[in-house]
Subunit: 133 residues, 2 copies
DNA sequence: CGTTACGTTTACGTTCACGTCATCTTTCCT
DNA sequence: AGGAAAGATGACGTGAACGTAAACGTAACG
């Protein structure tokens, strides 16, 4: 019983803090494929997993088109070997990108901390009594 | 003698792989302030440092407006204490964001590696002879 | 049985971050 | 002097990622 309830568009919006427009837009761009009950969209557990990945991808600065490609990585099912290899290769590229980004991010964090230490020192000089934080 | 040569717009473009339009756009948005020699822009070491930070910020998904705020962090000079405190507070916020992003990125990397391991296994089953990578 | 709430499609509007002309100086070369 | 090369200033165009408004369906509620 894997909490496989289907959700309405409103429920999705509240759960993920997005607008209906956004979900319909993602569907138009083929990032989501909710089932239909008549006209109405029904979002499954699978859709929720994909949406989670989409939003994460966005936070990392990937475009929706890039994300669309990436989504297949998490749904490599019974594709042909050729397709599977292509997908795998794409995954390697993106993995490298993400690791590079993480490393650069760590550098940036270190630099920023350095600047803040300098700022804290200056604040301390200006007002030795009131703490800096 | 800190390599403090000023550079023309073309030299900047080649050095950072951007277009003239981009540099003029950043200036219009007050992210850069090159000096002028008559009409012509002259980019100093300081401008180069700022541009580097701008491009990095972009890779991390910050908007130009956010980046503009952040740039002050690296140029906290002789501002008033009040201003310095505000800047410092902003830095703390951004630092937290960046650390959160790094952590999430690490998670995502781990997940992706997991998926790739699964894919590699499937490829191995399909063709035990040809290696996967 | 009206209206309120939720859902749909279609279509035009908007913001960000530039790209792409068109048109003008300034400068350097022959 | 004539002309290409580099730089400048508008002004309009563009792609991505939605926002927003109009017009419609339908299902439940008082």
């Amino acid at each position: 019983m894997t909490t496989d309830r289907t959700m309405t568009i409103r429920e999705m919006c509240e759960a993920f803090d997005v607008t209906p427009r956004t979900l319909r837009f993602y569907e138009a761009k083929e990032l989501l494929r909710p089932r239909r009950e008549g006209q109405k969209r029904l979002f499954t557990k699978r859709d929720r997993a994909r949406l989670k990945l989409i939003l994460r991808g966005k936070r990392f600065g990937f475009s929706l088109e890039e994300i669309r490609q990436l989504l297949d990585l998490y749904h490599m099912d019974d594709s042909q070997e050729t397709q599977l290899r292509k997908t795998y290769a794409l995954a390697e590229t993106h993995l490298a990108e993400m690791e590079a980004q993480r490393d650069e991010l760590n550098e940036a964090i270190a630099e920023l901390k350095g600047q803040m230490a300098w700022g804290a020192k200056r604040l301390k000089e200006l007002a030795p009594d009131r703490a800096a934080g």
